[in-house]
Point group: C2
Chain length 436, copies 2
């Protein structure tokens, strides 16, 4: 795993950390992973700051779940008040879920949609792809090379970034990510549509057909490819022509992350058939959703019911409503755009000083900084990326890395990140780059 802690190096840790790591392995087993060479212990948090149990402060430039800031009082209050009032499921009539669904659905341009609530982005993607198969009668799923879409059997089966030993589904096919650092942007939409078409032909030849193409419009786990923004419409077109549907996975790119729009897919001007969302939706409260055109759920809803005990429960809806209010009231999409631009300009300035920085990209507060061994060959430098991530962690600034070659710094702070926080991150990054 990119930026994973290796338990074999536990002897390098302080006795206290080592004890906690050993206890964790004994209790939680071998499938759990920690971040960083020297894992971070967390005790409390506020805004964009985390603290360990000794009171050391960390600048959080990584956590996208708490996108309105750690422990935002309005979200905590909404959860508390609703948990004191009633916490129950969707088989009774409640007004909160209707009010929230109405407001949420109003944020999508184009035709009317339905909203279905789950607890996690994995569940939302699992449901979306089940629905795609049921609606189209086809089996094939097309994704990008290093996509991540979830942890259920179905969604892990179309999440190649889980690594080479995590099995992919029989009718899952991969296309290269739109690597804007290495591919000329002029015809990238056409190029991508052709790659998708090749996989459609293969799926059709095997009798599976294509149920869906699913992608995150920022291509987060492929390495964060935010531009150009005209490349998804040609993909939508070839998928529709083959009888499949387009699923926009907005778990990472939604709720203002891109700075330009509330939803990442809107930057591409497309109309997805299903849109899934999760992570920041409840600022940490487990809530997620799939939002679809009515015709997509028509047969599914006739043949199946969908009930998720905690999905769309009264408290989840209260948390989600508070988050949506805060995003609007505090103008966080606008802040994401403004501070994101400052950060990218800052990294571009650092790129003038440090040859190891090959590319700076992103949109809003989702920024990728690709580390290379040589700017002419663009050879990925995973070791440099790991050194920056761990160097920043030593200076108590939290980021991570991503991409097939694990060489792209992943900078993705809460949307309340300010100009001063951006300065602090850039200053610390400068100091770390200087040591490479």
């Amino acid at each position: 795993m990119v930026n994973g802690f290796d338990p074999a190096t536990a002897s390098n840790l302080t006795p206290e950390s080592r004890k906690l790591v050993e206890r964790r392995i004994a209790l939680l087993g071998p499938a759990y992973r920690l971040f960083y060479k020297d894992p971070v212990e967390v005790a409390r948090a506020s805004g964009v700051l985390l603290y360990d149990s000794e009171g050391n402060e960390y600048l959080d430039a990584y956590n996208n779940v708490v996108s309105v800031g750690h422990c935002h009082p309005k979200v905590v209050d909404a959860i508390t008040k609703q948990a004191q009032t009633i916490c129950t499921h969707t088989r009774y009539i409640q007004k909160g879920i209707l009010d929230y669904a109405e407001q949420l659905l109003a944020t999508f341009d184009g035709p009317a949609r339905h909203a279905m609530f789950t607890c996690t982005g994995s569940e939302a993607n699992d449901l979306a792809v089940r629905m795609a198969k049921h609606h189209t009668g086809n089996q094939g799923i097309i994704i990008t090379d290093e996509a991540y879409h979830g942890n259920s059997e179905l969604s892990a089966g179309f999440s190649p970034s889980l690594g080479p030993y995590s099995p992919l589904g029989t009718f899952v096919r991969r296309v290269p990510a739109p690597d804007s650092y290495r591919i000329a942007p002029e015809n990238m939409g056409q190029w991508m549509a052709e790659k998708v078409s090749e996989q459609i032909v293969d799926l059709q030849r095997r009798g599976a057909g294509v149920a869906c193409f699913i992608a995150d419009s920022m291509f987060s786990s492929d390495g964060i490819f935010s531009h150009p923004t005209n490349l998804l419409q040609p993909v939508v077109d070839v998928i529709h022509k083959a009888g499949g549907i387009y699923i926009a996975d907005e778990v990472q790119s939604g709720f203002g992350r891109s700075g330009e729009k509330l939803w990442g897919y809107q930057r591409h001007g497309i109309t997805p058939d299903i849109i899934t969302m999760g992570k920041p939706m409840g600022n940490g409260y487990p809530v997620a959703a799939a939002v679809m055109l009515p015709e997509i759920v028509e047969k599914f809803g006739r043949d199946n019911r969908y009930f998720n005990t905690f999905g769309g429960n009264t408290v989840a809806m209260a948390a989600a409503q508070a988050v949506l209010n805060v995003i609007k009231d505090e103008q966080l999409v606008e802040n994401s755009l403004k501070v994101g631009k400052m950060l990218r300009e800052g990294f571009e300035a650092l790129a003038k000083k440090y040859q190891g920085i090959g590319d700076v990209r992103g949109s809003g507060l989702y920024i990728g900084v690709e580390m290379v061994k040589d700017r002419s060959t663009k050879e990925p430098d995973a070791a440099a990326a790991a050194a920056v991530v761990n160097g920043l962690r030593a200076r108590r600034v939290l980021i991570s890395a991503t991409g097939a070659a694990a060489n792209t710094l992943k900078i993705r702070p809460p949307l309340v990140f300010s100009a001063a926080h951006a300065d602090r991150l850039l200053t610390e990054a400068d100091a770390v780059f200087a040591t490479l």
Copy 2:
């Protein structure tokens, strides 16, 4: 769906209810279902009482999620305090998850286990079966005829109770539930093991082998079959002999529901390979888990990582810890046993008055009352069950129905149900039975 509202009858509702139902269909689409002929609108709740927005009180004899009582102040406080402090994921070191895992694991008898946290029971069952396949190298899944285990593609694929149009997985095989009302109990364990063996042979002949048998020890959606308690060990034996593992789905039967033990499987004296849990774990906060023997997750943990963004987050663990504390402090397992016995005795007394009651069964506060047209033929009477469920709803007492023939009353109140609540439920039931 058993006890589902039919939208075609919306014209029978009050204008206010009708408007809410129509708004719900427009916003949430056709896959959502409401309970009762006349759906219940809920606005607040406390203990075992629910209230609609007009202040009408309902006795809750159905909701097992809020098992320590609606809005229990200790659970609400734990959620609030932790949400104010930090809400983050398991890739940082936290002490809360370790403390809770330690206490949770101490409740299972037998060998040491690992705990892995998810948000929903569906996710826990999906993970458990993925792990069963990865560990055994086999594909086959054996369940009971009307089992329900979840809503992901994988878990819906072994949940036949979702109805005849919800697709089952290719290598999913069904065995009859241990219907103690119709099958002599003497050799039921042997009978069940033989049924499972027949399916193992079929799976092996198709080259799939058997990965697991998964069941809820109360057979909730099959119709609540709580006895005899010596029937699962023979099943464990044949599954193990064929190279499969045994998964105890404790989402419904765990956390004291059965009254006799904290975990339902413990009533059968077996040692499952994986135990899954969910619903009441956080009293409504989305938290669930799979708990497994170390050897089951060894290869899985080497080949895969498992990360669930909200699973085991700090607030989920605080909620779960509070629930576990309350179950112990308020002696809710003991209360479940005591009040459950009163309820069963009460329904047995009603069975002397009303010929439509064919069988009363259950353990603790999970009670099934089977309605039949004729005691000699035992012919199921779904219409009578629906009439009782809706008759009680009209008297503001909430229960539901279950089973393949939808003729078994499902009585499953929060574990804080008192003797007085039991009296009220029985009095109202008597009045409704009298009208049949």
